[in-house]
Amino acid sequence: MLILHCPYCGVDADETELSPGGEAHLKRFGPGSSDEDFQDYLFARENPRGVHFERWRHAAGCGKWFHAARSTDTLEVFGTYSAQTTEPPKEICDRISGKRPGWTWRLFG
């Protein structure tokens, strides 16, 4: 039962107030994109044991989507941040580097 800090309303929300939204920072491919790009956008997902970036919504709270960086094996939370960004903020990446040297996730790390 996770607790995630909602960066929008400031509540440390119980998992039962949240709904998960899968992998973060997907780039949308629309009409005109190649079959491969579009297929990857729809279906290809990271499945790491360790550092992961996810989308969550504070559904039974302020209703806002946000991003969370956490470890899928220890459930350590490295930080939560705005949904209005296409990549993780530097300070969160730095924090992860401090705790998990050598981590990578997609193009980040």
Partner: protein, 188 residues
């Protein structure tokens, strides 16, 4: 028009605490940049009070404003005044990008009163309602058992709870169940 009726027509229950349907309340959803002058003015114009900071409710002479999210406030006033308030707010906002919509009929409001009020609420919501952690003036949207709810305290012994109108009966029964006699927890 006919006499408007709330979902539960003012039902009440006495157990560990008193639970009552507050009847119809004026409620207006305001979406916009809450820090924009026009938005603040439109909202406070209805209540005669201040704009709330995050996670709080600000009361004025003629109503109160609850902070719902970074771009949403709930303006509360008398039910009879809500229609007019929507009009004045819309006018006040002019071309400012915003949304003002009357939701008075889409909600039910309950009052939970008594020294055990904190306890009754703590049976239903994953929120720390201990004294010092939750106090009058704070406003919290959360989950109450299986439904969405918003709660705040009018005073040390009184909680107000808002939920959707369609689940008013569920919410009322839930509160009655949590307030059933013999179920005191004696923890706060």
């Amino acid at each position: 028009m006919s006499e408007p009726v709330s979902a539960l027509s003012g039902s009440a229950f006495c157990g560990l605490v008193r639970v009552e349907d507050c009847g119809l309340k004026g409620m207006i959803t305001l979406r916009g940049d809450l820090s924009a002058a026009a938005v603040k003015k439109a909202a406070t114009g209805v209540t005669g009070g201040k704009m709330p900071s995050p996670l709080t409710i600000a009361s004025g002479k003629t109503g109160s404003i609850a902070w719902m999210s970074p771009d949403e406030a709930l303006v509360m006033c008398d039910y009879a005044d809500a229609g007019a308030a929507v009009g004045t707010m819309t006018t006040a906002l002019g071309t400012t990008h915003s949304l003002v919509v009357d939701v008075s009929d889409a909600r039910a409001q309950f009052r939970v009163t008594g020294p055990a009020a904190r306890e009754v609420m703590a049976k239903l919501c994953p929120v720390d309602f201990a004294p010092g952690s939750f106090e009058p003036g704070q406003f919290r949207r959360t989950r109450m058992a299986q439904i969405a709810a918003a709660v705040w305290m009018e005073d040390e012994n009184t909680f107000c709870v808002i939920c959707f109108r369609s689940v008013a009966e569920y919410a009322f029964t839930l509160l009655k169940t949590a307030a059933a006699s013999g179920s005191a927890v004696d923890v706060f």
